[in-house]
Amino acid sequence: MKAKRRVVTSANGERPGLAKRRPTVRRIKPAIAPVSRHVPDAAAPSRAPASSGSRPSLGHACAAPTTSASNSTVDLSVDLGRGLRLENPILVASGTFGYGTEYSDVVEIQRLGAICCKGTTLRPRIGNPTPRVTETPGGMLNSIGLQNPGVDAVIAKYAETWAGWRVPVIVNVAGESVADYVEVVRRLEGVPGIAGIELNISCPNVGAGGIQFAIDAGAAAGVTAAVRRATDLPLLVKLSPNVADVRPIARAIADAGADALTAINTLSGIAVAPSRQRPLLGNTYGGLSGPAIKPVALRIVYEVSQVVDIPVVAIGGVTELADVLDFLAVGAVAVQVGTAIFADPTLPVRLVEELGAECRRRGFASYAPLIGTALPKRASAPSSKGVEYRP
């Protein structure tokens, strides 16, 4: 089992080992006039190179803490591959932030690292019967059923708006066949305003008996490879936690050409109606999200970070800076905030500030020293071996 990872938190860290897979670094969005708190752009002098080969440890993967860091701007930028460079590592998760416009009255959306929009499919989908959401202890269940107007309508309605934004928009793509995914991505290719793709592979592969792509390494790699061939856009692939061992799946996806992994999607669950005569959700099954799933997300990020050398973006139950720091410690280079936005819409922007402040407080010029600090020196035993009984 290989235990190696690469951390890139600065714009122009050369990535020799991966050069073959990254022939084009396209500028997806035109450079937008920088505002004050701007991070160095791609032409700025290089920071200390990212670690390569071995896992980072404190003070290893970044510039040595500088005295000036305490009062100057901390570099929070992160490179997710193929030119997808974010100003900071705090993203908003698909399905919880609509198309970025819904919360703009109360959230300074341009200060987010990126926005992952609602899952987008080839054809419009009206979604699942209601009720679609319900609160559970420390979390919620949802079964929206991928309601969306279809890729063409999404482009027509939002792309122009997105192109004018400083914050990159990553389109979350779903489908029920490889051909579906490929066609959606083809239509997104070259459209100004679209900074990248996040594949939601927790969808049934209708041609293959309706088994989710995400739970089978071959199917997951197959859809990733097909999409990779169809686009030069930065490609993130989102892992499902509903699998016995996530590591082979993560590796297969990385080998198939994904630029980054995002983890995790929701955990499958149900709730019972108050009458106790039927399940509560209109669709029976829902996806569990929120603080309740954070330990599972941490475990998966921990396992995945040890077996792939592409960036891992953590998702699952982030509600405060401590959660961000935990996910960085187990190897994530960025995090997405989802369910917590519903209660606390301004949380993601505050996390950007708080992460910067934390780095300043500790004298770091970037947040790279926070990454991977809790990873084991040697590859750890996987959770699939069981928790109680050590082999």
Binding site: G95, T96, F97, G98, E102, Y103, D105, V106, K118, I126, G127, P129, T130, P131, R132, V133, T134, E135, P137, G138, G139, M140, N142, I144, Q147, G282, G290, P291, T319, E320, T339, A340, I341, F342, A343, D344, P345, T346
Partner: protein
Amino acid sequence: MRLAGAELLESREILPGQWLQTFHAPELVTGARAGQFVHVRTGDFSGMVLRRPFSYNTIDPATGTLSIHFRTVGRGTEWFTRLRPGDRVDMLGPLGRPFEMDSRTQHVLLVAGGLGIAGVRSLADEAIRDGRQVTLLFGGASAREVYPSSLLPDEVEYVVATDDGSVGHHGFVTELIPEYEGWADQAFACGPLPMLKVLASLAHSRRGRLGVANLGRKRGGGRPIPAGSPQARRKAFLQVSMEQNMGCAVGACLGCVVMNTAGTPQRVCREGPVFASDELDWEGGW
């Protein structure tokens, strides 16, 4: 839409398990209209992760106060009952689209089933302020659950029906409609789905019988009014305030939909909660 703190001024259990709370929240009162709602945070993330939506029960711009009315049905609503005057909560609002009244409407019929009173209560104030006559038909399970008449403006004619006949008409509130539909220029309702379904079908048949379902529409003339627009609602005989479980309450999560007659999901939090009754597909399984 604004995010603002609201300070609890008064909290009263007006009926068994039903609470009326008044908050000082000038930022959420400015511009708010009857039919809209606030989404209120319940503490921190140590337990509950979702806000709770409440209709504006009353809106008082003069004092910068609003009130909400709810029944304790779970951990969230119980949490609210433990708030004490002076406590502050975080509110998002005003959310959703309000009731729309035709300028020529003189006779306003409000229909409330149980807690649905909270959805139409502030419209009574608005209508009376604008010099209209208001009749409120209220349906409850029993006398114990009848909304206190003392909490209504004096000008409102208040008619009650109870399921067990312990006060007022013995039966469903919808059975009172035939006596009022001729008098009413427009009707506004909030309550359980079965009640709204009956009202919607009554409103539909009224159009056939009375031929004036769309008050004030000029025959043949004018541009067609897009379904779902405020203008279309303003012309509808019956407007209903819908309920659905909510996540975000700003239109982002698509958790809260109802179907319109075209088969397109409508977000209760964004396109609603107020809809013209003939916009919605009442037979749909949502």
